[in-house]
């Protein structure tokens, strides 16, 4: 029943993706070629096989997650194809690979579900931190880090490159859910009060200190403001969920405030980002250029957009990756913007709904932390593009071009779906 509704929604998303390609072919005069059929086929193969795996191994899973992801991927893919047909071809392969990996994850978890993951806590922590730090590998190593656009987020191996940070978020979410499932009771106790807020013993601040430390390392050595903030939000948010103590939120907020001021004073790249955010047109030709181009694009889009293929999103730097939303906002207009924001809000709602309905503590925490990762990442980059917040340079889940991001987010959705299958059982 659930799975049939999901399947028809997925066919709709596949039609949306191929319709997008057909419109680009029409407006840009690329001709009606195999791209349309190929795109339809890839959506059916990728999302269809995940849907099939759910039907087989998690038939009671939430039917909302996969179609929302498929629709967002279709909207993003239309703009990627519009910007660069070569990137779109790679993105299709990435989507197939991501679908296959999600199927593999569902297969591995077919019996016990995610419950079995609880015991590998420290393995996940180690793998997560190593993945995060991987881009720091010196250039002389066969697998080595690489710097792109001033941030060291990439790892190269034999001509292949990927962003390990995207996967690291999943491992850290797994660690956190498991750690908090065991320690949330102790962390909830408070022994002293500071400024009217209750605080637990200092040793229970461990996760927060780890979070701050990891975020700081990421910020300093990789110059990745986005990942740094995302990880910190995940750790603080989960500490709050696990304990219900607002003191964690207060401490986290204070840490961000102090850390933000220190980072602003200490790092030129943070100053540039903040300066470009507050006054993008003061340094129009340099630091403010990207956000200014995004504003020109979104403003030109107005209500209904320029029409797919009829705007100039190619003028926006990183239009296919971090700034894909600006390209959508230009060509699909305010209507398209609101649809995309609403889709993310629905995805987050579905994720939190799963967390709320799940009784088992570990799976509840895992659902919540995966949802926080997805939601905060979407919010950060959307707020950056819309000039509500400084640009943080992270990808927009499912929509941005990039294999690592697509892979990590497909697995994230597969994990959420698997949790929702056994939601109410203990």
């Amino acid at each position: 029943m659930n799975r049939n509704a999901e399947a028809s929604l997925l066919v709709g998303a596949a039609l949306l993706a191929s319709l997008g390609v057909a419109m680009v072919n029409f407006t840009l005069g690329r001709g009606f070629d195999a791209q349309v059929a190929l795109t339809f086929l890839v959506w059916i193969l990728s999302f269809g096989s995940v849907s099939f795996a759910l039907r087989r191994w998690a038939p009671a899973a939430s039917p909302y997650l996969l179609p929302l992801a498929a629709i967002l991927a279709a909207i993003g893919f239309t703009e990627i194809y519009r910007l660069d047909a070569g990137l779109a071809a790679i993105q299709r392969w990435s989507l197939l690979l991501a679908g296959a990996m999600a199927v593999l994850v569902l297969f591995l978890l077919r019996g016990e579900g995610v419950r079995q993951l609880r015991r590998y806590r420290y393995l996940f922590l180690t793998v997560g931190v190593l993945l995060l730090l991987m881009p720091l590998l010196p250039d002389s190593f066969p697998i080595h880090g690489a710097e792109i656009n001033g941030s060291r987020l990439w790892v190269r191996f034999q001509g292949l490159s990927f962003q390990p940070g995207e996967l690291a978020k999943l491992f850290l979410a797994l660690f956190l859910a498991s750690y908090l499932a065991d320690n949330h009771v102790a962390m909830s106790a408070h022994t002293r009060r500071v400024f009217g807020l209750g605080f637990p013993p200092l040793r229970h601040f461990g996760p927060i200190i780890i979070a701050g430390g990891v975020s700081f390392v990421v910020l300093v050595y990789q110059r990745d403001l986005g990942a740094s903030l995302l990880l910190f939000a995940l750790f603080v948010g989960m500490a709050y969920i696990a304990t219900g103590r607002r003191s964690y939120l207060a401490a986290g907020g204070l840490f961000v405030a102090i850390g933000g001021v220190v980072a602003y004073q200490a790092f030129a790249h943070v100053q540039r980002r903040v300066g470009a955010w507050i006054r993008p047109f003061d340094d129009y030709s340099d630091t403010g250029y990207q956000i200014a181009q995004a504003l020109f694009a979104m403003g030109s889009g107005s209500i209904s957009g320029s029409g797919i293929g009829l705007g100039r999103p190619d003028l926006i730097p990183a239009a296919a990756t971090d700034f894909i939303f600006a390209a959508v906002a230009e060509e699909m207009g305010f209507a398209g913007s609101v649809a995309v924001i609403a889709a993310y809000a629905l995805l987050v709602a579905a994720g939190f709904g799963i967390a709320l309905r799940t009784r088992d503590v570990f799976r509840k925490f895992l659902a919540a932390s995966l949802t926080i990762v997805l939601g905060v990442q979407s919010l950060l980059i959307l707020a950056g593009v819309l000039r509500l917040f400084p640009v943080t340079g992270i990808t927009l889940p499912f929509m941005s071009y990039g294999g690592s991001s697509l892979l990590a987010n497909m697995i994230l959705v597969a994990l959420l779906a698997r949790i929702s299958h056994t939601g109410r059982s203990v």
């Binding site: 504003l295 403003g299 889009g301 209904s304 924001i341 609403a342 987050v348 709602a349 939190f352 905060v376």
Partner: protein, 490 residues
């Protein structure tokens, strides 16, 4: 554990709502500013290569058109087949320099609405014609060419109008420029050269440059005297060799440096025909500042002329500045001192005399038509000002006719047509005088007969130099245009 999850979820939903608010602001509220920002390349890119409407003259000559690129049928190139001739009317549509003239003021009509926005597609579905519209000008290509040829290389302006409707029949300003050079390769350097040119070819001398009117202003002084009953054509004035200006050591002399006529006295009619400064300076004092300045303002001075092309207001000083200063008033009455007039303003004045005292709103676009050549709108003639009553206008016209038959404007005469006119020679310190002629014909037209009013201005002596006068330099130029209008061969 669920309440904190609910609170975090709420926090995130508030954040998503803020994103929608931000999108509303950036796309809908600030959006138009971003869209029109000069640094936004979309604006220029969208205009570049789009089809614009055709502009034709009254008699069907194409003066602006969009030509399809043979290699790429979606790209058009703007072309001005007559080059310099219509530059100050049609203007240009240039990627680098923007739009001017009718290309700017009629941009909405001339631009295609065909785009792929939802509203565009819907209109197309409902059968609206989204192709750009064309303009038919009031200008007559033949008159325009003759006016430009008559001016030749001299700096100046010729502007002609149908006084009964306000339709502009010719509008030439020299030197001019070729708008085709501001489009495509080499546009940047061509535009820079035009900007740097000391002869200011981009300046529309007919509408946007003012000059001392000199003796052509006397039609206004005469009208003020008649309208206020201060004098009539038969009124006799003393005819001194020079008029001593009260309260001043300055004197006013005639152009001839002598008396107006042979005798001791002269009628106002004879003084007008001979354009005597002494008599008109005295007449100005007799009329008084309020009546004289009021009359000038009734002719359109000190206000913006309602015209599609950019105009400069012409100026006379306020009446109260002449209190106890008859010397200034006397000089003003003969169009010197602080009086400044554009050729268009003097055209409004002579058109009022031709049209029984009423000034019509001038216009240059006769009609707007669709790509199917169906007329969408036609300009309806409207009255702008009531300058003088009909008796005054007819009297001034009769005196002006004598200027052409037996006065300073004889060289504007056209065989068998009753032409009225007035010459002006405005002294310019440090340069040869500006030569003016204004006139119209036929005087007292039969019903159904079309009139034409014309103003010619030649800057700084034109080709003649120091000896230039309105009668010698400007009147023959007007004569050529008038003869062409009445279909009389050279």
């Amino acid at each position: 554990m669920n309440p904190p999850i609910r609170r975090l979820a709420l926090l995130m939903f508030i954040s998503f709502a803020l994103l929608v608010a931000a999108a509303t602001y950036q796309q809908l509220i600030a959006g138009p500013d971003y869209r029109d920002d000069p640094r936004n390349l979309r604006v220029a890119a969208a205009r570049l290569g789009r089809e614009r409407g055709t502009i034709i003259t009254r008699d069907g000559a194409v003066v602006a058109e969009s030509i399809q690129d043979p290699d790429d049928p979606t790209v058009f190139r703007r072309s001005y087949p007559y080059g310099k001739l219509y530059a100050h009317v049609v203007g240009y549509d240039s990627l680098l320099f923007g739009t001017t003239g009718l290309e700017a003021s009629r941009s909405e009509d001339l631009t295609s609405e065909r785009d792929a926005t939802i509203s565009g597609v819907l209109s197309a579905l409902f059968g609206d014609d989204l192709r750009p519209k064309g303009l038919r000008l009031t200008i007559d290509n033949n008159l325009q060419q003759i006016a430009a040829a008559a001016l030749g290389e001299q700096r100046g302006a010729v502007i002609a109008i149908d006084p009964a409707t306000g339709a502009i029949l010719a509008l030439v300003s020299t030197p001019s420029f070729d708008p085709n050079t501001l489009i495509g390769p080499g546009a940047a350097s061509a535009g820079q050269a035009l900007d740097d040119d000391a002869a200011t070819p981009l300046l529309n001398r007919a509408t946007s440059q003012s000059y001392p009117p000199g003796s052509v202003f006397k039609i206004i002084t005469l009208a003020a005297a008649l309208q206020n009953g201060v004098a009539n054509p038969a009124t006799i004035f003393d005819d001194p060799t020079a008029l001593d200006l009260p309260g001043s050591t300055a004197v006013i002399r005639n152009f001839s440096r002598n008396r107006c006529t042979a005798g001791e006295s002269v009628s106002l009619e004879d003084a007008f025909i001979r354009s005597c400064n002494t008599i008109f300076a005295q007449l100005g004092i007799d009329v008084g500042p309020d009546a004289l300045i009021g009359q000038a303002e009734d002719f359109g001075f000190n206000q913006d002329i309602p015209f599609e092309l950019q105009t400069l207001a012409s100026a006379v000083p306020p009446a109260n500045t002449f209190e106890f200063n008859d010397a200034a008033l006397a000089q003003t009455a003969i169009g010197q001192r602080d009086v400044q007039a554009t050729p268009l303003q003097m055209l409004m004045a002579v058109a009022a005399i031709a049209n029984g005292g009423e000034i019509m709103v001038p216009y240059v676009v006769e009609e707007v038509f669709t790509a199917e050549a169906d007329v969408v709108s036609r300009t309806e003639p409207r009255v702008w000002l009531e300058a003088v009553g009909r008796p005054t206008a007819d009297t001034v016209a009769a005196l002006m006719e004598r200027v052409v038959t037996s006065g300073t404007g004889r060289r504007a005469a056209v065989p068998n047509i009753r032409i009225a006119g007035k010459t002006g020679t405005a002294e310019v310190p440090g340069s040869s005088p500006h030569a003016w002629f204004l006139g119209f014909g036929p005087v007292a037209p039969n019903p159904g007969e079309n009139q034409i009013a014309i103003v010619v201005l030649v800057e700084s002596g034109g080709d003649i130099g120091e000896s230039a006068t309105g009668g010698a330099l400007a009147a023959p130029i007007a004569q050529q245009v008038l003869a062409a209008f009445f279909g009389i061969p050279e």
